[in-house]
């Protein structure tokens, strides 16, 4: 049976520490754009932890929400791409083929979650920082759109390994970089087609909801509400 990769984000566990953000940079060769570009709103964080203030001092609260590509089943970013650079794989992934991308940036406009990023310049890694680059992930050149891939390189590696070993993938065998580094275990990645996987179980939770659900994008990331104590 084909896999359907999805994620569950337990906002009751998430502390907003930002480990996932750093882990994503480390895994996916995301360039640091530097202060000038960051000041122009060009910082690249495939995964960001949104924070929203609620109330005023002294009765003030903060809400954290990690937002990465929601890998929508009805992704608005896909059909608008004239070159099929953005399309749907049969494992439900929202593939972005960098070398097909001509940089219309239409997908980024169509994405309601603003999780797509654009290479405004050729990325720089002053030596020897380049030694850290992950050889499994392509380095994107100028003029290309990019976004969270659910660490597709890890998924394919594991699938190839399982295929070679003539075995089924175990739940939890594949972890995205963000999920792996999350100490509080707020991020859970897995196969939604496997009803017993952690991610399926969590996605069925009554606390679960999708981000901007009413837009009908059918995201594969489920957010489990933060609970409140009386």
């Amino acid at each position: 049976m084909a896999h359907r990769w999805g994620m569950a984000v337990d906002l009751d566990r998430c502390t907003g520490c930002g480990a996932c953000v750093a882990a994503c940079h480390a895994e996916n060769n995301i360039p640091t754009v530097g202060p000038d570009q960051a000041g122009r709103g060009r910082a690249m964080h495939w995964l960001r932890v949104e924070r929203y203030w609620e109330g005023d001092f002294p009765d003030v609260r903060l809400k954290f929400r990690p937002v990465m590509c929601q890998q929508c089943d009805a992704a608005p970013c896909e059909p608008v791409c004239p070159t099929y650079a953005s399309h749907h794989t049969d494992e439900g992934l929202n593939a972005q083929v960098y070398n097909r991308c001509i940089g219309t940036r239409y997908c980024a406009n169509a994405c309601p979650y603003n999780v797509r990023f654009f290479e405004f310049f050729n990325p720089q890694w002053p030596k020897p920082l380049h030694l850290q680059l992950n050889p499994d992930v392509s380095v994107r050149e100028v003029g290309v759109m990019e976004k969270c891939t659910f660490c597709v390189q890890r998924i394919t590696a594991a699938e190839i390994d399982a295929k070679a070993g003539k075995r089924e993938l175990k739940d939890g065998e594949i972890q995205t970089a963000c999920a792996q580094s999350c100490a509080a275990r707020a991020l859970v990645f897995g196969d939604l087609n496997d009803p017993d996987s952690d991610v399926s179980r969590l996605s069925r939770s009554p606390r679960g909801s999708k981000l901007l659900e009413d837009l009908g994008t059918l995201p594969k990331v489920t957010y489990l509400d933060r609970q409140t104590q009386v």
Partner: protein, 451 residues
């Protein structure tokens, strides 16, 4: 006798082709240098990367797309207006049709450039074209950008022919009036036109077929342009009204552009005798009509959003009308409605100058309108954490300026080599048999009295 006027007419209209003043060369040199600067800037942008522009995350489209929509809008001057006027056979169209259609062709060429300029990797633009590539990947016909490609190429082909066919008899005229290399070139362009009744019939029926075919295409083009926005789930983009809204806006700005060009030609080519104030005033009336129509669309769009109170849309509404974009927004309202309306609705003010002033306002206003459609929405999508704003940077401004220069340049050259007023059509209107074209005749008369 029709001899004298006929000759005078053709003499006047051929003068620009046959005599060249130093002013012409100066103008061409000036505009040419601006255009070259624009090209240089584009090269600079391609070499250094798109970061030299002001776009950022989340505002991935800005001035370039604004210009794209703006120029495509201007291009509606020619086709829609002349096609309609041809079909209703309004005589007063005759002096203005050709310069209108020329605007269409040139504005369209420039507009079609912008999708390329705004590509992240322009050197791969041909992946938009439906050709069997080595890996048999065709473009994605579900993408509005591909619709753009088809719509614009059809429209461009159509309008080039629509402009070109009626030029054949005039080329024949030039052929007969000139000698030497001019005779040879125009002889070639005339395609061996003589002027038998058969040819005239074929030409005229072809033109009416074209007029009927080009109208829906023109409308579809700007509808498709509006689809670029309304297909995306972006607050205040995702709107059913955008099709007609954009078409109306396009015709609106198109007429303004046409009006300015006509007035300019009239002044600089001394065509007072052929372009009468009434022609320009008629355009002015059309402009007034479109201004009202535009205001109506704006009202409908805004009211629906305001009343609907969908939080994301309200955020955009707020930032445009009360927030950082408010100055631009209210300038747009003044330029597109308040000013044209107050000038054009008063007969006293509806002079050529008045009309030109109003039109300039409309051009500014319509550019702003497109800018305000593109930018604030992108900056205020659903998740406020990702909100952002935008300032254009020199690169974008230079390229924008140079495209305006490019239009004027193309136009200057066009006027230099082609009779800007369709001579044979004027002649056809000159000695009508009483039974024919009452409308046209009356318009002419009206023009005379006012001139």
């Amino acid at each position: 006798m029709s001899d004298a006027p006929a000759n005078r007419l053709s003499d006047d209209l051929l003068r620009p082709l046959l005599q060249t003043s130093w002013r012409f060369y100066a103008l061409v040199a000036f505009l040419g240098s601006i255009v070259l600067m624009g090209l240089g800037t584009w090269a600079y942008q391609m070499y250094n990367g798109f970061g030299v522009t002001g776009i950022n995350n989340p505002i991935f489209w800005a001035v370039y797309v604004t210009n794209f929509v703006f120029w495509i809008g201007i291009s509606h001057a020619g086709m829609v207006i002349t096609a309609i006027l041809r079909l209703v056979n309004a005589g007063w169209r005759r002096p203005v049709t050709r310069c209108a259609e020329a605007i269409t062709v040139f504005a369209l060429m420039i507009g079609a450039l912008f999708p390329l300029i705004h590509l992240g990797r322009p050197w791969l633009f041909f992946w938009l074209i439906p050709y069997p590539s080595s890996r048999q990947i065709w473009p994605n016909f579900r993408s509005p950008l591909v619709w753009d490609f088809f719509a614009i190429s059809t429209y461009l082909t159509g309008s080039v022919l629509f402009l070109g066919l009626p030029m054949i008899p005039d080329f024949a005229l030039v052929r007969d009036r000139t000698t030497g290399w001019r005779r040879r070139i125009y002889g070639g362009l005339a395609l061996g036109w003589t002027g038998t009744p058969k040819q005239w019939h074929r030409l005229e029926s072809a033109m009416s077929i074209m007029a009927i075919a080009i109208l829906p295409v023109a409308i579809s083009v700007h509808t498709v342009v509006s689809f670029d926005f309304s297909m995306a789930p972006v607050p205040m983009w995702h709107s059913t009204i955008f099709g007609p809204y954009f078409v109306a806006g396009a015709i609106f700005s198109g007429i303004a552009g046409l009006l300015i060009v006509t007035a300019a030609l009239r002044k600089f080519l001394h065509l007072e005798e052929y372009v009468h104030p009434v022609h320009i005033q008629n355009l002015g009336k059309l402009l007034l009509l479109m201004s009202l129509l535009w205001a109506y669309f704006l009202f409908v769009e805004r009211l629906t959003v305001w009343y609907g109170n969908e939080s994301a849309e309200i955020a955009v509404l707020r930032v445009t009308q009360k927030g950082s974009f408010a100055p631009l927004y209210w300038t747009m309202v003044v330029c597109n409605f308040v000013m044209p309306f107050s000038i054009l609705s008063l007969k006293k003010l509806r002079t050529i100058t008045g009309c030109v002033i109003a039109s300039c306002g409309v051009l500014i206003g319509m550019w702003l309108e497109r800018f305000l459609i593109v930018v604030p929405s992108l900056g205020h999508k659903y998740l406020p954490y990702t909100w952002g704003t935008y300032r254009p940077r020199p690169v974008e401004i230079l390229i924008t300026i140079s495209t305006f220069a490019a239009l004027v340049l193309l136009y200057t050259l066009f006027v230099k080599f082609v009779p800007i007023i369709s001579i044979w059509e004027l002649r056809a209107a000159e000695h009508p048999s009483p039974a024919l074209l009452p409308a046209a005749a009356r318009e002419q008369a009206l023009g005379e009295t006012q001139a």
